[in-house]
């Protein structure tokens, strides 16, 4: 018993000492776990953030680990089961959506894994949803789309870059719901990637495209973005109107953020959250942000948890209406 106490005492002393010796860095090193392969969105977020943190001198070293499987579920389970120290997991809106739809990778026994099983540290960036039409489309704004839909529901087919019940589907469904239409009657045509959905729209087989703003930025010469789900216009695309200013109060953000293992101490969490916020003010971050066309949406700690709770509630209601769950 005494031995254990001694040991704890010693451990405590070591921790104290080591914290003194590393005053120049907020944190010594951080390991990023990425639930997908190289080149994906999560990968870019983790590596970009790590790069900005180390280059700005806030972090001594960053390491990365790709762990794909189960749509990110494998990496999430890894965080929960092995509780690795000094490690954060990058995740985004699918964490919320996949626990609602009970995606196979997120099911554990009779329950389901969600943000509650890990420690939400902070949301750092986000992408707003966008509704786009081809440049030569008769639809000039979202009101036109709603009018056409109300006249003949099957005349408006909505393309998206992922399956039913995914983010792309929900963005459009939210907008139609807000316009007083039954979102379940809108024909949603899924493609297996954003680029293919875009090709579908431009080939004329669908009339509108519902996806992330980032997916259509590359094709701004071919498409007209008739509404985004942001509270106000974004600086990277100042000519693009929001749905809100057209009278449809739709707000949706595909957040990306970081989570700690379930046993992460409150002190560590706060330290990392603060660091993720501070880094956004550095020029090093700005370089990374600009090249990836990210939108800074810093949402730390308790605010982040509240946001996740709210998003879970809203999305559950919408998906029930859509018959996805």
């Amino acid at each position: 018993m005494i031995n254990i106490r001694k040991f704890i005492g010693l451990l405590f002393a070591t921790v104290l000492l080591s914290s003194i010796s590393t005053t120049s860095f907020a944190i010594d090193k951080l390991h990023f776990v990425i639930g997908g392969g190289a080149g994906g969105g999560w990968d870019g977020t983790a590596r970009g953030t790590g790069e900005a943190l180390t280059k700005s001198g806030m972090l001594k070293s960053a390491s990365f680990e790709n762990m794909s499987g189960g749509g990110g579920g494998k990496a999430l389970a890894f965080m929960i089961n092995t509780k690795p120290e000094g490690t954060v997991l990058v995740q985004s809106t699918p964490l919320v959506l996949r626990s609602i739809t009970r995606h196979k990778g997120y099911v554990k026994g009779s329950g389901v894994l969600s943000y509650k099983d890990v420690v939400p540290i902070a949301g750092v960036i986000g992408d707003y949803g966008a509704i786009a039409v081809a440049k030569n489309s008769p639809f000039k704004n979202f009101k036109d789309v709603v009018a056409a839909y109300k006249a003949n529901p099957s005349s408006v087919k909505m393309a998206g870059g992922s399956v039913r019940g995914s983010m792309d589907h929900l963005i459009g469904a939210l907008a139609f719901q807000e316009a007083g239409a039954d979102p379940n009657k809108v024909v949603y045509v899924p493609y297996d990637a954003g680029g293919k959905a875009l090709a579908g729209l431009l080939s004329g087989e669908t009339q509108i495209l519902s996806t992330g703003l980032g997916e259509v930025m590359g094709a701004r010469d071919q498409v007209r973005i008739i509404g985004i789900t942001a509270p106000k216009r974004v600086s990277d695309a100042p000519d693009v109107p929001t749905l809100k200013e057209q009278g449809f109060n739709v707000q949706f953000v595909n957040w990306r953020g970081f989570f700690g293992p379930p046993n992460m101490s409150s002190g560590d969490k706060k330290k990392i959250a603060k660091m993720l916020g501070d880094v956004q003010k550095t020029p090093e971050w700005e370089v990374v942000r600009k090249r990836n066309a990210w939108v800074n949406i810093y949402n730390p700690d308790k605010k982040f948890v509240k946001f996740l709770k709210q998003q879970t509630k809203e999305m559950t209601a919408l998906m029930k209406k859509l018959g996805v769950i």
Partner: protein
């Protein structure tokens, strides 16, 4: 346009950019040769480096890696039956048998010449028609893609000669079944995953190829013991490395190259297809052009069967730059990563790119010519040495193939479940091989099956559940009629001939 070409030439010929092409081609070739590691991963990891460069330089480097990988991927397809990139799977159909007959050097040379020709011819198309070709990219809708995939399946006939028909068809069905594993592409429902979350994303194409080709080939050699490889052991090593083609082989190659480069390029321009589909289609179509004697050789080391897919995959690779640069539409994971990089440079792709940023648009195309020459120079002299890989004693070569298969698949997903899945599939495939079941139909069905189902169901969604889409559009109808005529021609001709 002349002015643009001159600007492009000027940019592409600067010392820095030539160096970048060389670097890109070199890394691409190596990445292509290593099974599993594809150009997408390489380019994604390369992006941070390119941000210090001018946009044109960065894109030239990335493009070099891309077509370099497709060029280099054929080497491992031919030598060890382990395709380096998905686009070179069809290369193994005839390239590997050819190498087994002691003609590895020739096979590698044919692949190199065909890749060079395919890449160069399609770069000419790009040069003269890129802006207007974007219309073709957008001409295809889901029903047309569905019809195209059905047409692609007719290539199965290449493996079903001589009483193999039933076995080939059984493998087609097995391939179609495997393609349904995982999350359904249209709804959120998972199929045949047995509650295993490692299967929710489906079985990856590379995994299937590595299991049924490289690994099961190695296992078959082990099981069969010494007797079957006797023939290859007899062949002298000097012959193995010879890259000299005789007149007949050269003529055959020259016939296949033009038609396959046009086909490959056009398929590459379509955002919903790509290099892999292009090579399969070219392989299947090539068999329709040649005479009966040649038909019998397909799958057993035919020059046509090797030249066609090798030309087509490189042509498709250049073709995929059309939707990327002129529309901002990425057709594959690799081009999606490149689009991200372009946007990061602050470049807006679009039909006006060749006016707003002529130095980028034209220099990338011009750099392709330089790249193709570099790849040829890089590859040809090395062939005699690379071909000697086959001279390695089997008890060293086989463990090496197994090692590269396992590490390759792990590097793709960083998921060790995939390793066990690959071994499991390879064991099953080995038994099937011992009973003479052909593997290529399985691969073909696996690739086309997923796309066929997805496009069929999407077409049905768009047409509100009616099957009218099959004949509503002339393009769909033409492709389907063409498919029917190929099938009936092939099944009726033996009867008429008698």
């Amino acid at each position: 346009m002349i002015e643009g070409i001159l600007i492009g030439l000027h940019t592409a010929l600067s010392l820095k950019n030539i160096l970048m092409v060389m670097m890109g081609c070199f890394f691409g070739t190596i990445i292509g040769m290593l099974p599993g590691l594809g150009p997408m991963t390489a380019i994604a990891l390369m992006i941070p480096i390119t941000y210090g460069f001018e946009p044109a330089t960065g894109l030239i480097l990335m493009a070099g890696v891309y077509y370099g990988a497709v060029f280099g991927g054929s080497t491992s397809s031919i030598l060890i039956n382990a395709p380096g990139v998905p686009g070179t799977v069809a290369t193994a159909f005839d390239g590997y048998p050819m190498a087994q007959q002691g003609k590895a050097g020739k096979a590698l040379a044919i692949a190199a010449y065909s890749s060079f020709a395919g890449g160069t011819i399609s770069a000419i198309f790009l040069l003269f028609a890129a802006p207007s070709l974007s219309k073709i990219s957008l001409a295809f809708r889901s029903p047309d893609y569905f019809a195209l995939m059905v047409l692609g399946l007719t290539a199965v006939s290449a493996f079903s000669s001589k009483g193999q028909f039933l076995k080939a068809m059984m493998m087609v069905i097995l391939g179609l079944m495997l393609s349904t594993v995982g999350q359904d592409s249209l709804s959120d429902i998972t199929r045949f995953t047995f509650n295993n979350m490692n299967l929710t994303d489906g079985i990856s194409f590379v995994l299937i190829v590595m299991a049924t080709f490289a690994m099961s080939e190695a296992l078959t050699i082990i099981l069969k013991g010494k007797d079957p490889s006797r023939a290859t052991e007899q062949i002298s090593l000097s012959q193995l490395g010879s890259i000299r083609l005789d007149k007949e082989e050269r003529n055959k190659m020259l016939k296949s190259i033009p038609r396959s480069s046009v086909l490959g390029f056009l398929i590459g321009v379509l955002p919903g297809a790509g290099a892999t589909i292009a090579s399969f289609l070219a392989y299947g179509m090539e068999r329709n052009y040649v005479n009966d004697d040649e038909k019998q050789k397909f799958g057993k080391g035919s020059v046509h069967g090797l030249a066609a897919p090798e030309t087509a995959n490189n042509a498709a690779c250049s073709g995929s730059f059309v939707p990327l640069l002129t529309l901002g539409i990425p057709g594959s994971g690799t081009t999606a990563v490149m689009l991200g990089a372009l946007l990061g440079f602050g470049i807006q792709p679009g039909p006006r790119l060749y006016m707003t940023n002529p130095e980028i648009f034209w220099s990338v195309i011009m750099s392709m010519y330089i790249g193709m020459v570099i790849l040829l120079i890089l590859n040809l002299p090395l062939i005699p040495y690379i071909a000697r890989v086959l001279a390695t004693p089997k008890n060293f070569l086989i463990p090496l193939i197994l090692f590269f298969s396992v590490t390759g698949i792990y590097l793709m997903s960083f998921n060790n479940f995939d390793i066990f899945l690959m071994i499991g599939i390879a064991v099953v495939a080995t038994f099937l091989r011992l009973y003479n079941f052909p593997m290529p139909p399985l691969i073909l069905a696996f690739v086309l099956g997923g796309l066929m189902e997805e496009n069929l169901r999407r077409s049905l969604l768009i047409s509100d559940g009616s099957f009218n889409f099959l004949w509503d559009r002339p393009l769909t109808l033409i492709i389907l009629l063409f498919t029917i005529s190929i099938i009936s021609w092939q099944s009726l001709r033996p009867l008429i001939g008698r």
